[in-house]
């Protein structure tokens, strides 16, 4: 396609530039793994937390959230492997990573600060989860993720009017619909 000619006319220059822009359109790194992993982990933790609160007298039900530690490790290892293997990294890949990282930091702080002042921010967390999910859905043009974001907004809004115990059940349903199902759809499309 490209010869080694040292110069060519201006219209050809524009054709080369626009041709290369087209070549990079729609390139995005695979994200199904993260949605499946975090969808399963968060849904399981929420369901376990709910069950321990309702059906047991265990005094530390929040311990189920320790399951997120291996999930973080798995995410970091997979991310490292992915960046090593990637032949190309787009600006959007970088932006999406930063958006999810910011979300993760905010959630971590909300949970820690919630413990300090003995308040549950579950509805706020669900509303916040909608933001990166919506951005991801919009950028990779995946409708199930966009619907997932809407589900998070709905679930977060409903949770404001329910008892704290029910928050975990609502969050489990929202996570299955917002992360897990879109993740499975993304993985199937990838195949």
């Amino acid at each position: 396609m490209h010869s080694n000619q040292e110069s060519f006319d201006q219209k050809e220059s524009l054709a080369v530039i626009s041709g290369m822009i087209k070549q990079t359109q729609g390139l995005m790194q695979e994200s199904a793994f993260y949605f499946i992993l975090w969808g399963s982990v968060i849904a399981l933790a929420n369901l376990a937390h709910y069950c321990l609160l309702v059906y047991s007298s265990y005094s530390h039900p929040y311990m189920v959230w320790l399951i997120t530690i291996p999930a973080w490790l798995a995410s970091m290892l997979y991310g490292r492997k992915q960046s090593r293997e990637a032949l190309v990294t787009t600006h959007l890949d970088k932006i999406i990573t930063v958006v999810w990282l910011s979300f993760g930091i905010s959630i971590f702080l909300l949970i820690i600060l919630g413990q300090v002042i003995n308040t549950h921010f579950n509805p706020v967390i669900m509303l916040m989860a909608a933001i990166p999910t919506f951005i991801s859905g919009f950028t990779i043009k995946e409708k199930s993720l966009t619907f997932g974001a809407v589900l998070f907004w709905l679930a977060g809004s409903i949770a404001f009017f329910t008892d704290t115990t029910v928050h975990y059940l609502i969050a489990a349903v929202a996570t299955i619909g917002g992360f897990l199902i879109p993740g499975i759809i993304l993985a199937k499309k990838r195949k």
Binding site: G19, M20, I21, Q23, R84, V88
Partner: protein
Amino acid sequence: MFKDLDPLLHAQLRLAIMSLLMNVESAEFTFIKEKTGATSGNLSVQITKLKDADYINVTKRFHNNYPQTICKVTETGKKAFIKYVNALESYLRPGDKD
């Protein structure tokens, strides 16, 4: 008077490499080769020229015992590319001629 076109960028393959890299964060040699349709030898020569001009940053890494060459546009390269596109516009818009 027309603005001068950067001779380093006003060559088909080098412009293709720069255009490609301007649109991504970083790209591996084989990806650039596939998208530009250039031969490995020619691509290596042009990448070296762009690297020597500090238009791109080239790093080497190993993946599964195979060497990989990662290319990324530098700030100098970004400025040069924008300047080149602006100069190109002045050629294509006759009304802007001084």
